[in-house]
């Protein structure tokens, strides 16, 4: 992706999200955009992890779910105070479990949303990468973990709300999150978080770490023999991906007002990867547009042809991998290059090597 094209994409996005959409969409549609942007936040992490580091994770739902559930615990406690959360009462859990207690505090909740999933991701992935497990095998491990996580959440009904998840939130630190005004505020919080995450990702990609990740993706051996602990760099990318997914999950709980095990599982995780594939896995800004477009398509199709969504997303994935391996961003870069003739194609070297 050319630099000019990237800046143009970001400026367009800012105008679209800050000036146009909030003024033309009704509160219901605006809230849907917030939801799409949640997936954009997760997608930016996947670009870093998959596009740059070459590490395919089919378990981003785990970290999305962790962030979502941690946030939901706080929101649920605030909504049901001073009583026990309703689902605990229904499952005859009589006292609040000790590990729910700290989630009365918003500060603690926010810190744990940042720290817990990141720490888990780092420890887990560093151990796996040190053993030189990578590629398809790593993807299968993450997939298995996502499945395990779903089973765990469904099974522990008294603590997690089981298959229904945690729902029925009312306020966030006193501010209503179900009123139209509250949702409007949350929309701007969402846009702000998206730009913060994009800023972080761009800084990482532009730093030496970004180049080392590309180098590891293409020739991990060579990087080792340049004196780098490649497992550490891959674990770093995985950790940042997990952090972004967790932030996304926490925002989802706020925006949508619920979190359920289906959002944690394998299907949800794979859908996240498809969002990024559509936008372009090497492009941070592309992933954001991909999430917006696919999210919007999902709403439209689910509203009009409720049974068709899965067929559509499956077909889309096949078409993208076959005809547009660098996604929409690749398409735009190609169109841009046709006019600015002779410019180097972003993936020229790579295609030459295949």
């Amino acid at each position: 992706m050319g630099n000019r094209l990237g800046i143009l994409g970001i400026v367009t996005l800012a105008i679209l999200l800050l000036a146009i959409l909030p003024n033309v969409l009704d509160p219901f549609r605006l809230n849907l955009v917030s939801k799409y942007l949640v997936f954009a936040v997760v997608g930016v992490g996947i670009v870093l992890l998959w596009g740059y580091g070459g590490i395919l994770s089919l378990g981003q739902g785990i970290f999305f779910g962790l962030g979502g559930y941690l946030m939901a615990m706080f929101l649920k406690l605030e909504a049901s105070a001073p009583e026990l959360p309703d689902f605990m009462v229904w499952s005859s859990t009589e006292t609040l479990p000790w590990w729910w207690e700290p989630y009365h505090s918003l500060t603690f909740t926010l810190i744990s949303i940042v720290v817990l999933p990141s720490a888990l991701a780092f420890v887990l992935s560093y151990a796996v990468f040190r053993k030189r497990v990578s590629g398809v095998y790593f993807a299968i491990i993450t997939l298995a973990l996502a499945l395990t996580m779903t089973v765990l959440l469904v099974g522990q009904q008294g603590y997690t709300g089981g298959a229904n998840g945690i729902t029925d939130f009312k306020t966030l630190a006193g501010m209503s999150i179900i009123s139209d005004d509250g949702k409007r505020v949350l929309y701007f919080v969402q846009v702000l978080m998206l730009f913060a995450v994009m800023g972080m990702a761009i800084a990482i990609v532009k730093s030496r770490v970004g180049k080392i990740l590309i180098a590891i993706r293409d020739r991990e051996d060579r990087v080792r023999f340049s004196g780098y602990d490649t497992a550490l760099f891959k674990a770093f990318a995985f950790t940042v991906g997990a952090l972004f997914a967790s932030i996304g999950g926490a925002l989802y709980s706020m925006q949508v007002g619920l979190i359920t095990p289906t959002l944690v599982g394998a299907v949800a995780s794979i859908e996240l990867v498809i969002y990024v594939a559509v936008g372009g896995r090497m492009s941070i800004i592309g992933a954001v547009y991909g999430a917006l477009l696919v999210g919007w398509a999902k709403s439209m199709i689910s509203e009009n042809f409720p049974t068709m969504w899965l067929f559509f997303i499956g077909g889309l994935f096949i078409v993208i991998t076959m005809f547009l391996p660098s996604g929409l961003a690749g398409l735009f870069a190609r169109l841009g290059n046709k006019s600015a003739d002779g410019a180097q194609r972003s993936s020229g070297g790579k295609e030459g090597a295949r």
Partner: protein, 245 residues
């Protein structure tokens, strides 16, 4: 300080019972440009793989200066001052020549250090200097994937030079090069040898003649002969198994 940089003692590695290298011992000194020759399957590449940590030996000791390498991980061996060039040029094709050299610069190789890494004037100078040495000064902004085969070989040697290693292990550095490029490579290797120690695997005997101080001949994982080029060329056993055909 002793002049011995690398010492290999009774080195053996077996893959499923097949001994690729079998009880091999040798010593390489500072300033030396050593060539390793031998027929296919003699264990040349495996020997380099063990020195740089890619393959772990079954038995034996590898000492680099006073470090025992056999239990160290690859990146630590590299940091200690051993550089490895692979048989197929391995460069980062999606990065520019400049970025390829920059990544190989041996400072701030942790994650945090890399996040805050800045290209200093001093580093830029060093990159230019190395690029000059490996004949790639005019290609710094090209994607490495677009270089010719020979240029990729040079780039990989340049990447090693950025690390400023004391021991360079080069696996067939002139494979796929034109005669002119071979000469340039010979000059390059002779120029960088002083102060370091080079071990070069090569099949091209004319090239070996151009550069070698001393030649080691391997056969079926064992040391067959060792000496100057003339001695080797006269050696009956070497003619039998290798030079004769």
């Amino acid at each position: 300080m002793s002049a011995i940089i690398l010492s290999v003692k009774e080195l053996t590695v077996s893959f499923d019972g097949f001994k690729a290298v079998d009880g091999l011992s040798l010593v390489v000194e500072r300033n030396e440009l050593r060539c390793v020759i031998g027929p296919n399957g003699a264990g040349k590449t495996t020997l380099l793989d063990m020195v740089c940590g890619k393959t772990k030996p079954t038995q034996g000791v590898i000492t680099f200066k006073d470090l025992e390498l056999t239990r160290m991980s690859e990146y630590k061996i590299t940091r200690a001052g051993v550089g490895r060039k692979f048989q197929n040029p391995s460069v980062y094709e999606d990065l520019t020549v400049l970025e390829n050299l920059e990544i190989s610069y041996p400072k701030q190789r942790g994650v945090v250090g890399s996040l805050f890494f800045r290209r200093t004037a001093e580093l830029r100078l060093r990159i230019d200097e190395v690029a000059d040495q490996v004949y790639l000064r005019d290609y710094l902004d090209n994607k490495a994937g677009l270089l010719s085969h020979g240029q990729k070989q040079w780039l990989e040697i340049g990447m090693l030079l950025m690390q400023d290693p004391e021991l360079l292990l080069l696996d067939e550095p002139v494979a796929g090069m034109s005669p002119r490029e071979r000469e340039q490579t010979a000059e390059l290797l002779k120029r960088i040898a002083p102060g370091r120690c080079l071990m070069v695997i090569e099949h091209d005997m004319a090239f070996v003649k151009m550069i070698a101080h001393k030649v080691t001949v391997l056969h079926q994982g064992r040391l067959l002969a060792e000496g100057s080029m003339e001695e080797i060329q006269k050696d009956e056993r070497v003619i039998d198994v290798y030079l004769g055909h």
